[in-house]
């Protein structure tokens, strides 16, 4: 499998550069929507749809969009597709819309999407950008569902709304609440470290790396990167 094959682009997002568990991007929706498997799956697929659409659109326009104006253009395109997806969800899946609420709108500022636009779609042909979008979207969805499964099964003793007989008796209710999200995410990252013997996650601490705005940003943190490390 050559490094440049289309298949590797697809798989890259799911495993090697999994946005949530390896690149540590998109933390907000990861924490906020993984209280239930349904919510996580909905969020993941909505983000996948936006990601594929925006990647394709941006890739198509990559020679038209001027270098200096690329960030505002990307934001407009992404916000547009987010609104389209939001309206479709609101019209055809009202229950899911009620669960996700404002987080659907906030896909606009999900770093994964702007990040892929900046790092991949703006430089690659349409087909590859689409595959990258699918791969990243699936990777995002997969990690969300894994986290949601842990939180829902142990937190409310059910899976995707279906009750699990034995688990019902021994629920750890706080897992479905806010602190549970942070805790499970932390434990998962530690687990990945153990399983991969320290090779993953790639990012060792929270900083501006991977932030799509890093290039036009000069916070002390970003400066530190060059000076201290």
């Amino acid at each position: 499998m050559s490094k440049n094959s289309n298949l590797s682009v697809l798989l890259n997002g799911i495993i090697k550069e999994n946005p949530v568990l390896v690149l540590i991007l998109g933390t907000c929706p990861t924490l906020a929507t993984t209280g239930t498997v349904d919510g996580a799956l909905g969020m993941g697929l909505a983000a996948l749809a936006v990601l594929v659409c925006s990647n394709v659109f941006i890739s198509l326009l990559r020679n038209v969009i001027p270098e200096t104006m690329r960030i505002p253009c990307y934001i407009v395109i992404i916000a547009g597709f987010v609104t389209v997806v939001k309206m479709i969800v609101q019209a055809y899946l009202p229950d899911l819309y009620a669960t996700l609420g404002v987080y659907l709108d906030l896909i606009t500022v999900n770093c994964i999407i702007l990040g892929r636009a900046e790092m991949f779609a703006g430089k690659n042909p349409v087909i590859r950008s689409a595959l990258d979008g699918v791969g990243m979207g699936l990777g995002f969805t997969l990690s969300l569902v894994v986290m949601a499964t842990i939180r829902e099964v142990f937190g409310s003793g059910s899976f995707a709304g279906y009750e699990i007989p034995f688990m019902q008796e021994y629920t750890i209710a706080f897992l479905t609440k806010a602190p549970g999200g942070l805790l499970v995410y932390g434990l998962l990252i530690a687990l990945i470290y153990v399983v991969t013997k320290g090779a993953f996650p790639k990012k060792k601490s929270f900083s501006c790396e991977g932030c799509p705005n890093a290039s036009n940003c000069y916070t002390p943190n970003c400066a530190e990167k060059g000076v201290e490390n």
Binding site: V76, G80, T83, V84, M87, Q90
Partner: protein, 392 residues
Amino acid sequence: MKKNLKNIAVLVCICAVITVLLAATNAITAPLIEKNQNAAANEALLVVMPGAEGFETVDITAYSLPQTVTEAHKETSGRGYVVKLVTTGYGSDFVIMCGVSSDGVVTGAVCLSSNETLGKEKTYGENFKDKNADDVDAVDTLAGATKTTEAYKNAVKDALNTAVILGGGSVDIRTEEEILADNLNAALPAGEGKFQKHFFAEIVDGVDAVYTADNGAGYVCVIGDAFIGVNADGTAITADAVGADKAAAAVATIKATTLTDIDLTAYPTLANTVVSAKKTATGNFVVETKGAGYGIKGGNEYVPASGEYIIVKVSMTADGKIIDCLTVSQGETANLGDACKDEAFYGQFDGKTEADYTEIDAIAGATMTTDGYKQAIERAFAAVKVLNGGVK
């Protein structure tokens, strides 16, 4: 400069394309979204009117409806109405949603929120299903929750009345107090709507009650269902001859009644139980006595007793028959013991003697208050015996 213009043009073009895309999506999804939102809003309404096709909100300010009604919705296919009411039960803000079919039958009732004590009111509404206005009073009460039950039944009646009014009919939505006030006003317009119930010191046969106008314009006598106005000089202003005679006689008796104060210092045995005593020219007595109810005997370390006696005013013939009875003041527990100030309770003593005065309905849940009240009545009997020439 040229480059800037090109940049701006690109951004504007992208914005335009995206806006067109959004407008197209919006055109497709907007009707569906609106339908979904309506469905969500109507879900609560559907619970009380199963099978309804849709609802439209009625402008309730355009109708004269019971005051408890806060919202009304008309079923679009004409099945009936769903009414939302806010009433007061044991606690405040008892919100009830009630569906009424076009032929005046309750299709469902639910309690949306309440501060009631029991929690049973959540499912109580089911009992009203398929009942009409005549059946509502017969619905089983909630054990131990008289006020909640009453509030619920009144709310359901209000909902039934609302449906009639919205359907174009008319119905009496006045409360009992309002009906009484309207009747009094009709019988004696010169009274300007302000009346006090007269406290009898003389026996007047054939008249159920007399109301005195605050401004001295005259009296209204209640005889059965009839309200008869009497001028201040004692002439009845109603054509009903039999009633008018009785009313005039009653007013003559009232006007002839004179009360003389009795000096209680002459009766040391009554010092602790009697507040005041008066005597009529015909030999009847009017005494105010104290009874120890919850205000004296009750209370605990968390809710201390008020320290107030129940003061009762009793008029009585010399041979010990109660003519009239009235609660002057009390310090019993709110919502429970203070029912002793309602006429429904103290009116029971009218016409009683020492032999049968205990045969009255106690106040539910307020044994100490009832006992204290009976003690005050008992002391009135004892006082009249003393005042009428017994042992000092």
